[in-house]
């Protein structure tokens, strides 16, 4: 089974974000980057499916040169090879236009299964996978907590709201968006890190893919959220207990 994992590189969760001089994005210079967490779970799921059913795990990533570090990390964890769509300016795309680029590259691989995280930690639009599925003409399911493959078909456990779940069957090829926590993430071994250096990373550009990807929306400004509530910042535990006792009357 050939499994394609679409992953994104995002700023680390603890990053202190500063708005850049254009006012349309953050200053990227000093940030550290990592694999978007739900995508890391998608990768792990792909690796486990390969261990069970055999086949190949191919990583697909669009991003600037720095995304190469996340691609190497995925290869070190066990992915077989990777496709890096080198694009320095992801901000020039909206979800649909970027998904067109990803879907074009994915289609050429003819994967049996495409996995990606349910959303990204940076933009959080939560739809790249679904849009790719539509563009590739394959069925999909989202927010997946369990994947079973039997005889060319797929049975998944979808998470619904408020603690509900649902099993859904569909034929392969298909695309799934994976929920964080579906499995236990592995660490790359030293051997894996060494091997990753020799694995194939094919670099492509959007122009080479030949996709027209004009956006139909633009992110025009970013800014700190307005505080709707006045938070009383207290200095220490004693003061907080005072407040909880005499203002909130809870203790």
């Amino acid at each position: 089974m050939k499994i394609l994992v679409a992953l994104k590189q995002v700023p680390g969760r603890d990053s202190q974000l500063k708005i850049d001089s254009s006012g349309r994005w953050i200053e990227e210079g000093d940030l550290s980057y990592e694999i978007n967490e739900p995508d890391a779970y998608a990768l792990e799921e792909a690796l486990q499916l390969k261990e069970k059913h055999g086949g190949e795990v191919v990583v697909l990533c669009a991003g600037p040169e720095r995304a190469g570090t996340s691609i190497r990390e995925a290869l070190a964890k066990g992915a077989d090879r990777a496709i890096h769509i080198e694009e320095p300016n992801l901000a020039g795309y909206d979800t649909l236009s970027l998904a067109r680029v990803l879907a074009k590259a994915a289609e050429a691989e003819k994967p049996d299964l495409v996995l990606t995280g349910l959303q990204s930690d940076d933009l959080g639009l939560g739809q790249t996978g679904v849009v790719m599925a539509e563009l590739m003409g394959v069925p999909h399911a989202t927010i997946i907590m369990q994947v079973e493959v039997t005889d060319g078909s797929l049975r998944v456990k979808r998470e619904l709201e408020d603690g509900w779940f649902q099993h859904v069957d569909m034929p392969l090829p298909a695309l799934l968006t994976i929920q964080s926590g579906i499995n236990k993430l592995r660490y790359a071994t030293l051997m894996g890190i060494k091997k990753a250096k020799t694995k194939e990373v094919r670099k492509l550009t959007v122009a080479e893919l030949g996709v027209a990807a004009p956006p139909a929306s633009v992110l025009s400004r970013i800014y700190p959220p307005e505080r709707k509530k006045q938070t009383q910042i207290v200095e220490n535990a004693a003061q907080l207990v005072e407040k909880l006792r005499f203002e909130v009357r809870a203790i």
Binding site: Q127, E134, E161, Q166, L219, A238
Partner: protein
Amino acid sequence: MSGILVVTEQSQGTWHRMSFETLAAGQQLGQALGQPVFAVVLGAGVGALGEELGRYSLARVHVVEHELLKAYTADGYTAALEQLIRKHEPSVVLFPHTYQSRDFAPKLATRLNQPLISDVTGCRVENGGLVLVRQLFQGKLNADYRPWGTVFASLQAGAYRAESLVAGSAPVEAETVALDAAQIRQKPDAPFRESARAVDLTSAEIIVSVGRGIKEKDNIPMVEQLAQALGAELAASRPICDNGWLPMERQVGSSGQTVSPKVYIAVGISGAIQHLVGMKGAKTIVAINKDPNAPIFEVADYGIVGDLFDVVPALTAEVKKVRG
């Protein structure tokens, strides 16, 4: 091309509460843009729900009934709504940002060659054009999006208030759609719950909730001691339960329990929206976090900016002093 189409959500004849928030948003946007507002309800046997929508101030209610829409599928909903949208050509299509919308709305927008702007927290009209506001980086920053062409947007829970929905009357019309069982590739089973919940957080007076900031499983007892000293229930954000550090039944948020205690103490929780929707109804919210820009402070009444490994033991000691 005119009009605002609000796609409502129901399951087995019961409304998703966010349908009404989305209708209220539609009404407000209709006023701002000077455009009529339409609502659609899809399913099988949903005539009564359509009649209910007819009691609001809307230009028309579309009822789309089909046996193949009885159980939700992304393929079925996309095919049905595609036909409705091509026929009526609205300029704006709004969805509640539910798990279900997340499953089909991006597909539907793609089918109609447009991007979906998802999880929107507010809209405004500037120079006749629509500006949609949404959060980035788990709520740390806001962003303005300017779309062109038909606008597809899903709205975050709580972004609009259902109470502001204006009553009135609207004609209710049945819409026929052509669906073929062969085009619906997903075969869903009935929804189920894992097991009865042994822990009911909803009746707790005080909840102490722990998030990623706790770093390791071995540090959980430190927070547990605070909960004990306060006579509180212990809860957690999703990553803690995903890691198996606390059982799933103690999870607060969109995929866990929704709580509204008297006091909610968030320890090392950054405050992603998926968590906030589960606890922002608390009467008093206390946040302990080392990042002064963490979104949890947006909803907190009291906050301590500091290292939870210093603050929590000190707090436990202070509470013990007071409660004896």
